[in-house]
Amino acid sequence: MKKVLALVFVLVLGALIMNHLNDNNLFAGFGDAMLENRVSQSYIDRDATENNDGVVFDESLDLESGAANTVTAIVADYRSFDTLGEVTVLFISSFGVALLLGQSKKRIALEFKPNFMLKIGSRALFAVILMTGVFVSIHGHLTPGGGFPGGAMIASSMLLLYLADDEFRAKMRGFKILESVMGVFYIILGLAGLMITGFFLENFLDNGALGTLFSAGMIPIVYIIIGLKVGSEISSVIDHFLSEEGA
């Protein structure tokens, strides 16, 4: 009976969504969305210049946002305040995990004793994955990626060390200090924007030429901050999951 009720509820919900999606002009069918009516068109155009006659790669200077990656421009420039709130949500969830699982001393012992090859090889792989994470974080405004996947890559390199060596414990205090300092830096960046331009988290640096590494104003700085913050948060979550209640 309960299953039938759940099925009916789910089907009605799906039919309602499908119905309302089809009779709205803004949401055309799959594959023919019309961007002219949406706010996204102005994000793509970057119409900071007077005559909006297109953007030239490696040359355009006076753009509204100098990032080659439009998604990054939205996340870290146009909607940076949103991202600040989102990073706060992640901080609160990692704080909640730390409160729930408690401060414990002992690690869960794995049955799998690591041999020599696994230990040495995972150290080498750790460096490669860490460098990939840093690369992805820094080049967020040019290539796909950015602070969020870069931070997750840093955390997964820590996960590799935790899995390969069953004695390994990272210094949790260092992660917590790094995370707090990065959060403070984000706020300081926003306040600097407030003081210089009059708006919180407004870009106050030079945009540079589109497509070069030192461009896009403060987007690389924001993404480095986000990368370190996300990486340290997820690493501390992993450490809490791999330890058990102290004896």
């Binding site: 049955e111 799998f112 796909p144 996947p149 997750a152 890559m153 955390a155 997820i234 999951f241």
Partner: protein, 83 residues
Amino acid sequence: MLINVLEIIVSILLLLLAFLALSSKSLIKSVMFLSSLSMLSVVAFVLMKAPDVALTEAVIGSGLVTSLFVFTLLATRKVGQKQ
């Protein structure tokens, strides 16, 4: 035309993997099906021209979330623990 066929195949496989993940009896098998579902959704994101989302999902969905599930099962079931 090829893209259309690929979209249909990916859609059917996504639904199949979700059904298997929900209906499997063993919890660890469910977690593994969830991991493959997440990996397949990366293909769906790439087909819809969203490389940023695909990269993030590939790192987080199939790496970190799966490891968190496995750690929970490991700690509670006493699977990998010494006597």
